[in-house]
Symmetry: C2
Amino acid sequence: MAVVSVKQALSGKLDAGSTVTVRGWVRTRRDSKAGLSFVNVTDGSCFDPIQAVVPATLANYDSEVKHLTAGAGVIVSGTLVASQGKGQTFELQAYEVTVTGFVDDPETYPIQPKQHTMEFLREVAHLRPRTNLFGAVTRVRHTMMTAIHRHLTEQGFFWINTPIITTSDAEGAGDMFRLSTLDLANLPRDDKGKIDFRKDFFGREAFLTVSGQLNVEAYALAMSKVYTFGPTFRAENSNTPRHLAEFWMVEPEIAFADLADDADCAEAFLKAIFKAVLDERPDDMAFFAERVQPDAISRMEAFIAKPFERIDYTDAIAILQKSGQKFEYPVAWGIDLQTEHERYLAEKHIGRPVVVMNYPEAIKAFYMRLNDDEKTVAAMDVLAPGIGEIIGGSQREERLDYLDRRMVQFGLDPAAYGWYR
Amino acid sequence: MAVVSVKQALSGKLDAGSTVTVRGWVRTRRDSKAGLSFVNVTDGSCFDPIQAVVPATLANYDSEVKHLTAGAGVIVSGTLVASQGKGQTFELQAYEVTVTGFVDDPETYPIQPKQHTMEFLREVAHLRPRTNLFGAVTRVRHTMMTAIHRHLTEQGFFWINTPIITTSDAEGAGDMFRLSTLDLANLPRDDKGKIDFRKDFFGREAFLTVSGQLNVEAYALAMSKVYTFGPTFRAENSNTPRHLAEFWMVEPEIAFADLADDADCAEAFLKAIFKAVLDERPDDMAFFAERVQPDAISRMEAFIAKPFERIDYTDAIAILQKSGQKFEYPVAWGIDLQTEHERYLAEKHIGRPVVVMNYPEAIKAFYMRLNDDEKTVAAMDVLAPGIGEIIGGSQREERLDYLDRRMVQFGLDPAAYGWYR
């Protein structure tokens, strides 16, 4: 007998009348007066559970099946039949139900078939993958990850693991986590009474890097198209939904590319990912649209339907100033755009994603290429409706004299970047 | 005119006579008395460079082309023609060569067209991606990564990001890096004079986790088949080629699986990856076989040709004891196998990969399922010729009373693992 996933059982690819075994966890049980029970079983392979119709004639019907509650582990063997129930294709006429685990106390089991708050689910992080919401998020994240690697591979990119542990703190020491194996209660001291990092694991101070970009640029100058895709750590004490101490980030680098190539790369990247999610996860996206965000699907469809708009930062500022909108943060040439400005541009003015290009040099990083006006750099941000900035990038400065000047301007010591220059 | 990668130019998929542009870095330049130069250009897209045949009639021939040295950046446009040279399919009859960057001092440029030692390349880490060796390693790593995600996705697994920063040090504190934003020179103290971790970033002590396994098991009990694939950090002070402070690891977890399922999963996983490397990177593998390890290809072919052998740990010990081999570490039931034992079993005794199963319970982790003999656990290691252990796994203990007993036996406090139990 074939063990199949719930996804396979519901797919329509197995003939009605096949005998199969599914394994998973009970979501609900309903007993009928007709002498049978309907047990919904989920295994995470897709959004929908499968309904097992369990007859009272099974030997363990009274002793076990009638005690099944949400979260119990079961192995159900049965015959796949077309379902008469609304909204599902197949159900399972069970002839054997094995219980692999009951829930200790069904009264206090945290994950019930109802909506839970995010705050509550945070307290039961080990069980929240069993909710519809976290199941759907997990499947969509997986699809996005595979789409990222697949798209970049098709475009000729190579994935690079840049080092996460670094002994250089020059990139922005304030935001980095220090890494150490020293005993804090008993720190080694040198003969001047200072902490002796020669005794630490790496023989000197070590940190978690905030970006692999500079490292992966070295690979771009050998492999032409490369990217990092790994965890990033920031010790920023910002309690917003957009700041995390630990998150995953993708950083592509392309040799011989200018700002327009960079914007093309960003646009194709986002569209490939969103298209994959719409194609591969319609069940999960339908759930999001129904329960979380009504325009979850239509917004992504609009995202991939048309070319992104492209405008200059200077024009964006003029648009904002003429908009008549009241912004919390005042608008003037030279400011870094706030989320309210970004969303106005993408949502109200353009009505679809927009790439803003050529930002003032003073608000952008030292490695971005100075434009001929010497006031702006070849930087771009992709702004998306409902989100604001979703990708940031730039053409890198390739002229050594400009690069050195910009390093000094930003308080960095070119000598410490010998390998990068 | 189409910009193409060197891989595309050499692939045979473009018609001879096409005009194309390639961009990359000079590997070698040879001037002919016939009034032209042969410039080998590589862009990292494949192992081989493309040969550009540059006529002396170009305007910048004397001023620039004749000064090209290894590492210089160039953009070459020309006509693709079948090559008369040995070992290459196509070459480029150049009609335009743009130099994007010369090497400052060709005499001291570290990456020359010759073999460098690994120790030397470590000192020029930013330039070593330009060597044949690191280029080939980068492409093979990329192929392995894509094969890992593709294979597991096809098998119905979901990729999970388990947290890397943890506030629990119970899994093996000695081997973990501590993470902190406290000023070490001025540590905050509580009223008892102890370090006040309430002032630290997370409000308590934090570490880099050594494994996402326990966390991802919680996901397996909702999604059925899951895996982590991310960086792992170990503060082990072991200077061997098999110990790293930072490395990437794959950790699959399957619900409703026993030890045989686990071994099946490991075997299919390794074979899928090695098959992808042989299929997709023949040029790089040929280089490894020629320059690094003569059996690089034949060993991988043998790896995927036959089913892995499976033997019991107890039988493996008997085989080693009867072998007549002299081992550095003496063999007796109860020992953890050393690399010399593992390689003898795989290379000499079996002659192909072998899965050793059911290890003594005292040398394996608390979460592994105790067998009925109460002396062994349902653990397995995959041993490979030339390597030794390449995968370790186990059936997890599902019986709460056994799990609690094993935790206490290993000095762990079950109360600290409430969420895992």
